[in-house]
Symmetry: C2
Subunit: 146 residues, 2 copies
């Protein structure tokens, strides 16, 4: 089993760069690479996401937890009602059913590993009522993109 080398930048041989999501959704400048998963007989999936400067992931929540390891760049992340700066090797855990969003900052893309169960529920987008509740906190209101 040959190690799969990244081929200039944060890419790995034989790992395709995918659209962040299969369907249209609210996000900007995000790519996804599935590094390991059910195809290798694993019950979990290791993905690498990259958000270009100015980009952001979808504001969403789901019952399955996320475990994130930042690999490159910097940015901010909303987890529940908290906003945190992130930089390489920070660990972020998104607990079940918690609104979250990643945003890239600085000149370099924000790249992170994200670990999930292979079998998981689909993400839920905020309803207008959810969004109103989320935005009740002025700091969060100033952060979220939806």
């Amino acid at each position: 089993m040959k190690p799969v080398r990244r081929d200039g930048g944060f890419r790995w041989d034989e790992v395709p760069i995918l659209a962040y999501k299969e369907e249209a959704d609210a996000f900007r400048a995000v790519t996804r690479q599935v590094l390991f998963g059910p195809e290798e007989g694993l019950s979990w999936e290791l993905r690498y996401f990259e958000i270009q400067p100015g980009g952001w992931s979808t504001l969403e929540r789901h019952r399955h937890p996320h475990v994130v390891v930042v690999l490159r760049g910097s940015g901010r992340v909303l987890v529940g009602a908290e906003i945190h700066d992130v930089r390489p090797f920070d660990l972020v855990r998104v607990p079940p059913s918690t609104w979250h969003q990643f945003q890239a900052g600085g000149a370099e893309p924000l790249g992170f590993l994200c670990l999930v169960d292979a079998e998981r529920d689909r993400p839920e987008r905020p309803t207008p009522e959810d969004l109103e509740a989320i935005r009740r906190d002025p700091a969060v209101a100033g952060f979220v993109r939806a």
Copy 2:
């Protein structure tokens, strides 16, 4: 949920540095940090291992697969009959029941994330007969420490 920052070097707040193994075994200068696992309700475990220059992990095999992401340093890894150089962001998959060993090279510790199922079989050490078979390949014989 606060991101857990590394606190100078590859350590994270509130994550203890553990002995590589609970029991005496054949290895040198390896530490282990469990970043996420069953305590957070996950069916898998994310660990960070660090091998000091000149150190090496146990030569072993097990039925559960390993998925590894190198984060720092450089070194070499034996997977089955193959020896590969590794450097940051290389991916290594150790298939089930495959002999493997990591060795640090260079001046910096070799640090890597390792993903496993939370419920997994215990590693098996080579018997003298296994070791003889493993060492039949001169390149492998010159590599393995046991």
